[in-house]
């Protein structure tokens, strides 16, 4: 059975060239970048090359890039690291209910430390309302953290408008751009963001590495204590190999970004058209335009999404649902609940996400299989 992977928003295969780019740093160029001898200098140079590529990719300078062990750490460092360093300016934070748990749970942890957090709602298309942000902003607000693109729906927030608004406020602006980096143009100063989190394994880089852009001059309290790596913002010996792999993956991804966008828009249309022709009741979730191309979130009202996913997996197709089955009933994800309340639409949502290796033929087979499985489930339910 030829398997089809349509879960690129969860994680992606490492690009063969990125894997190749990492190899020397496991065996021959293995020095500790902090060492002052030849081996250390070699590794440090490679690390700096990688850092420059990452910086260029988001329009930053190299010293503004902090290498982390992934997106969650980058989000945690931005939010907790900034709040703990700036509580003298205020103790109020703004984020949104549809954020990734890497952001939400960091905010909740800060609430226990005495910070107060406003969680902005979203409309049914998944977008925050600027008026609501306006109302939430206070004199003691020190940080606004809003994601660029949502991991479940691909909905893209008006980052630039938010960035513009916050220029006149003391609050710094962090964006979790884990899903967006490599999928659309990101330029930190155009967007007006002060911090931005990214994760390599979402753009065909290796797992276990990511980075945080921190605008020059912003102080963070580190989460990890130890050596003075990453300008004392992140202790621990850097992985030259992972950094090199991440940089190469991002470089390759950006080269093909527009091409991929066009292709993925075609995948979306192809899948939706065939589902429609096949008579499936399929409702697309999220804003029709303000979104990524590679994520397609569809509800199949009435379908038991748990069964649907198992069926697709048994047929060799890997997709995911944001919903979780807790206490015996399927609960919509926090993202879809925020958009549609506790609803059938939220509970029956499936996420298809395209990426490296996805083909028209795979999309055709997915549509066929999906229709067959829906038929089987309806007949039996």
């Amino acid at each position: 059975m030829e398997r089809i992977y349509l879960d690129h928003a969860a994680t992606t295969p490492v690009h063969p060239k990125a894997a190749e780019a990492m190899m020397p740093y496991f065996t021959s160029v293995f020095g500790n970048p902090s060492s002052t001898h030849h081996y250390g200098r070699e590794s440090k140079a490679a690390l700096q090359r990688a850092r420059r590529i990452l910086a260029d990719a988001v329009g930053a300078s190299a010293e503004e890039i902090v290498l982390t062990a992934g997106g969650t750490e980058a989000d945690n460092l931005a939010i907790m690291g900034y709040a703990r360093n700036h509580h003298h300016l205020g103790r109020h934070i703004i984020t949104a209910v549809t954020e990734h748990h890497g952001v939400l749970h960091a905010c909740q942890a800060l609430e226990k430390e005495g910070f107060s957090v406003t969680y902005l709602n979203v409309d049914s298309s998944g977008l925050i309302r600027m008026e609501e942000l306006e109302e939430a902003l206070r004199d003691d607000t020190i940080l606004v953290s809003l994601m660029t693109a949502n991991n479940e729906t691909g909905v893209v927030q008006p980052i630039q408008a938010i960035g513009d608004r916050l220029k006149e406020h003391q609050a710094v602006f962090h964006t979790d751009a884990v899903q967006a980096v490599g999928k659309r143009e990101i330029h930190v100063s155009d967007l007006g963001v002060d911090m931005l989190a990214a994760s390599a394994h979402k753009f065909n880089g290796p797992n276990g590495t990511g980075f945080l852009y921190v605008r020059k001059g912003i102080q963070l309290s580190p989460l990890l204590h130890g050596g003075s790596q990453e300008r004392k913002r992140r202790a621990g010996t850097e992985s030259t190999a992972l950094a090199a792999g991440m940089a190469e993956a991002l470089r390759l991804t950006l080269e093909e970004m527009e091409l991929k966008q066009t292709e993925q828009e075609r995948f979306r249309r192809l899948l939706l058209t065939q589902l429609e022709h096949g008579g499936a009741e399929a409702v697309v979730n999220g804003h029709p335009e303000e979104r990524l191309s590679n994520v397609l979130n569809i509800s199949f009202p009435g379908a038991n999404v748990e069964q649907l996913l198992m069926n697709l997996d048994l047929e060799g197709i890997a997709v995911s649902s944001g919903s979780a089955c807790t206490a015996g009933s399927i609960e919509a994800s926090h993202v879809l609940t925020a958009m549609h309340g506790d609803s059938e639409r939220g509970r029956s949502a499936v996420r298809f996400s395209f990426g490296l290796g996805t083909t028209d033929e795979q999309i055709n087979r997915t549509a066929e299989t999906l229709l067959r499985v829906l038929q089987r489930m309806k007949m039996l339910n």
Partner: protein, 367 residues
């Protein structure tokens, strides 16, 4: 013979050795095997520890060894609505329920079976020690060959439709052999201890568990003659024929629970294992299920078990129109307990069973 690879069998895997071997045997025979772990009860404690997580890890380990896909499904709601609420209701009514029978009827061979069918399964398989044969289109449920492990008692409430879609690969094996197979195949669960007790209570203290759900009302323990011998902590914590935990000392034979007076909230105790009040000679069973779909005849003789692992006892059964049955024992029987099941057999064939509703004491007339 049909190509087994074309036959999808969904195995209910609990993380125990029996269901691990079940999946292993089916895989060896070339079936398209899918493993599913059922989570029926939320037992996570304050620290977030959940024994179901450990069991699921074992399922994952075995499934990986076998090279089969595995998933988890959550039937907590179905279990609560159909098994646990019945369990509590029976205790409230002063009876001793058997949640395992209900779990098989409502969860393993209903919610789980339906789920498996929606996954395109041809059969579901479980690690029960039972066999089935098909004769003239009728599915017969047979005892497992290991009489010590035979689990047909728990399967008495199943229907033809349910059984027709079931496989019991362990039915022909003695338990020690199942362990051996697990060891030889080096299954991750080969040395795992068998689970004991009611699944949702596990190793916990039964009284403490029940107390969370049912208010206990203490009362007196009295002899048949009305002499107060102590206090009880709530009638539901005691079962007929029980000796342990009464705390009655003194001379003579040990004391046993011989009856419950629900109206007066009194636990009736008597001396001696063979106290006459513990003996009954007949019972009424309600909502009797006949596995074939119908009773063998209006009135017939067969054997019966009144609890799990008991020897088969000769009985005469008269079937009533309302679905109940009157069962008369050839010999008086000790501690037949309302709420448990009476399960009927014709040799190795399990005919069906019903809940014991009324018990007619041998000594009743002399009271």
């Amino acid at each position: 013979m049909a190509d087994n690879a074309e036959i999808r069998v969904v195995v209910g895997m609990s993380g125990g050795v029996d269901s691990s071997v079940t999946a292993h045997l089916l895989k060896e025979e070339g079936y398209d095997v899918v493993g599913i772990f059922m989570k029926n009860w939320d037992d996570s404690d304050e620290s977030g520890f959940c024994s179901a997580t450990e069991d699921y890890e074992d399922v994952a380990a075995v499934a990986d060894q076998l090279g089969i896909p595995y998933y988890t499904v959550n039937f907590e709601k179905e279990y609560w609505d159909n098994v646990f609420s019945y369990f509590l209701d029976e205790y409230k009514a002063g009876r001793t329920p058997n949640p395992d029978v209900m779990c098989n009827k409502e969860i393993k061979f209903k919610a789980f079976l339906d789920h498996a069918m929606a996954l395109g399964a041809d059969y579901v398989a479980t690690g029960h020690y039972a066999r089935k044969t098909v004769e003239n289109g009728e599915v017969k449920l047979l005892k497992g060959v290991d009489s010590n492990k035979d689990q047909t008692y728990f399967l008495n409430a199943l229907s033809q439709e349910q059984l027709s879609r079931v496989m019991f690969p362990l039915g022909n094996l003695p338990k020690p052999e199942v362990r051996d197979i697990a060891k030889k195949a080096e299954l991750a669960t080969a040395a795992k201890k068998d689970s004991t007790g009611i699944c949702f209570i596990g190793e916990r203290n039964f009284k403490e568990f029940l107390m969370q759900f049912l208010p206990a009302k203490s009362g007196t323990m009295e002899t048949l003659e009305g002499e107060v011998k102590g206090t009880h902590e709530g009638l539901m914590y005691y079962t007929l024929g029980q000796r342990q935990g009464l705390g009655i000392g003194g001379a003579g034979e040990p004391w046993f629970v011989v009856d419950k007076d629900l109206e007066r909230n009194v636990l009736i105790v008597g001396q001696g294992y063979h106290h006459p009040l513990l003996y009954s000679e007949a019972l009424k069973a309600e909502s009797v299920n006949w596995i074939s779909g119908a009773a063998p005849s209006e009135s017939f003789s067969c054997t019966a078990k009144f609890r799990y692992r008991q020897e088969d006892k000769p009985v005469t059964v008269t079937v009533n129109e309302d679905g109940s049955a009157d069962v008369t024992f050839a010999e008086p029987e000790r501690a037949v307990t309302p709420g448990q099941y009476v399960v009927f057999y014709d040799g190795d064939v399990c005919l069906g069973g019903g809940t014991i509703d009324q018990v007619y004491k041998a000594a009743a007339l002399s009271l």
